[in-house]
């Protein structure tokens, strides 16, 4: 169980980090883009919210598998497949948790509007400078919320990791799968302990995001 906990935390941390790097610029683009394609991208990003995780996992399994479109690219790195591996889990988790990062950050950017950004441009800041020194700090509440939600959501995912990870001990068996296995093995005590920890942690995350929301409103 200890190994599973470490693995789960590693997966959630790495996923959150990747999503910060990819999701924040994506959210920025979606917040200010005009045109039908922005709606299409927005819909694709939100898809994991409603799609059954097993469906998502199934498609990822095909995409990342030995016969998937990325197989030639993988062979460059001496790999045949990302399915049933930790990198595969990270990719799956990123897709699965993407909307939890993008939605609050997009909302924060949209609420911010272009005002401060324009002011920065007239104060000699290049667009990149304005993004990092004005837009990003002003949206920090939304970004923190997004990071917390993505982290918590990744901790608790089950369907996608089962499909793409395959429950390999020490490699892809995250906590939610351990709970499932415990129940199957009638180890109700351990399942209860892990469930309680996850439930408490989720509660704390929600509490933290609510407090963040209040702080953002005040400034």
């Amino acid at each position: 169980m200890g190994a599973a906990a470490v693995l789960t935390l590693e997966l959630a941390s790495l996923t959150t980090l990747v999503l910060l790097m990819l999701g924040v610029p994506l959210a920025w683009g979606l917040a200010y883009a005009k045109g039908w394609w922005a709606e299409v991208v927005g819909a694709v990003v939100s898809l994991p919210l409603v799609l059954p995780p097993t469906v998502l996992g199934f498609y990822l399994l095909i995409l990342l598998g030995p016969n998937g479109p990325f197989a030639p690219l993988l062979s460059h790195f001496g790999l045949t497949t990302l399915a049933f591996s930790f990198p595969g889990l990270v990719i799956g988790s990123c897709v699965y948790s993407l909307p939890f990062m993008v939605q609050p950050v997009r909302g924060a950017f949209a609420a911010l509007g272009q005002g401060a950004w324009e002011a920065a441009l007239t104060l000699r800041a290049t667009p990149l400078d304005a993004f990092f020194s004005v837009t990003l700090p002003l949206a920090r509440g939304g970004i923190a919320t997004g990071a917390l939600l993505a982290f918590a959501h990744t901790l608790g995912e089950f369907g996608v990791v089962t499909m793409i990870g395959g429950d390999i001990p020490g490699k892809t068996d995250v906590l939610s799968i351990v709970i499932f296995d415990d129940v199957e093995n009638l180890d109700w005590n351990q399942a209860g302990r892990i469930s309680a920890v996850l439930a408490l942690f989720s509660f704390l995350v929600i509490l933290a995001t609510l407090r963040l929301g209040h702080r953002t409103e005040r400034t």
Binding site: A119, T122, R124, T126, L138
Partner: protein, 354 residues
């Protein structure tokens, strides 16, 4: 004197902008027009925040935009004061002030001067959330000045403020151009603000510049809407020549335009702004009594005689212009005509904060 030469053409959402003008690259120019006439768009084009299909802009000999060339906003030495101050709420007042200063790499406008000019010293350690509307706008003006602009654009900076805060900032807006050597283009749809701030004036309507020139020339131009409005007035800029302590009167101007105004308006040598309403000017064939204050020798330069009860008369006093609104009956009975010399009795009022 170097000039600011601009022309912008473009359409968006059924609105067509076709504005061109040529104003001095010094002093204070008011950009006046009704809401939605394109004033702010012109300002945004000048700052480089909007790029229209057709645009040309030269500021003091430097090209900021022309066919196929567009200097991005962050490379323009432009300052923009927004109606909603747009301070960076994550930075202290001090860091807001230094934002543009750092990026401009310093310059002739010094932080200490700006802080003193706008009275920002007590605010430096505070954050924007703890400032009043007037304080925010003062910080915004300071922040903009410290970015070392060669052109200062102000988009209705007083519109969101209460009367009292606006009154406190207004004198600063008038002084800022001369104090820091920056031309100011000031957008407003409030004529009383324009009268108090501007030296030159651009009149916009439906995306076009209808008239441009010195403020007093446009105010007394009978073909423009200013002269015909209710409360039509001229604005005079005069130098204080003396103060009459016995009666508490300020004497300003030089012959032939000398005016006496109640109250102490400034030390000898100070330049003050006076407003003379057209309805406060009456015409006399000859001085009724030598004791009458503010009797000026004038010449009738133009008149708008229509079928209504009133006649608008433009009077020349030396280089200055006055507007008089008299009844058509008086005009006929006095036998007035263009080119005639006539005395004008004038009641002048000081423009608050002038």
């Amino acid at each position: 004197m170097s000039r600011i030469i601009a022309s912008f053409q473009g359409s968006f959402g059924g609105f067509r902008l076709d504005a061109g003008f040529d104003i001095p690259a010094g002093g204070r120019t008011g950009l006046f027009g009704p809401s939605g006439c394109g004033k702010s768009t012109v300002l945004r084009c000048m700052a480089g925040l909007v790029r229209l299909q057709g645009g040309n802009l030269r500021v003091g000999g430097e090209v900021w935009q022309e066919d196929g060339y567009f200097l991005p906003p962050y490379k323009r030495a432009v300052g923009y004061v927004f109606q909603d101050a747009r301070l960076f709420t994550h930075l202290s007042v001090r860091d807001n002030l230094r934002f543009g200063l750092r990026r401009a790499g310093g310059g002739r406008i010094a932080e200490a001067d700006v802080v003193e000019f706008l009275g920002l010293a007590p605010l430096l350690g505070r954050y924007p959330a703890a400032l009043s509307g007037g304080e925010r706008q003062r910080v915004a003006i300071g922040r903009t000045l410290l970015a070392q602009p060669r052109l200062l654009l102000m988009d209705e900076p007083l519109a969101a403020l209460d009367r009292e805060s606006a009154e406190q900032i207004l004198p600063r807006l008038r002084e800022v151009s001369a104090r820091f050597g920056v031309p100011v283009l000031y957008v407003s749809h409030q004529m009383d603000e324009i009268e108090r701030i501007a030296q030159h004036l651009l009149l916009m309507r439906a995306g076009r510049v209808m008239a441009a020139g010195a403020l007093t020339d446009l105010l007394t131009d009978l073909s423009l809407p200013f002269a015909a409005r209710d409360g039509a007035a001229t604005v005079l800029e005069l130098t204080v020549s003396a103060y009459d302590e016995t009666y508490g009167l300020t004497l300003a101007g030089a012959p032939p335009l000398c005016l006496t105004v109640p109250g102490w308006l400034g030390a000898v040598g100070a330049v003050i702004r006076l407003r003379v309403r057209a309805s406060d000017v009456s015409l006399l064939r000859r001085p009724a009594s030598s004791s009458v204050l503010n009797l000026l020798p004038t010449r009738i330069l133009a008149a708008d005689i229509q079928t209504g009860p009133h006649v608008l008369v433009v009077l020349g006093v030396g280089e200055a212009r006055l507007l008089a609104r008299i009844t058509r009956k008086s005009w006929d009975q006095m036998g007035l005509a263009l080119g005639q010399e006539i005395f004008a009795q004038v009641k002048a009022e000081a423009l608050a904060g002038a």
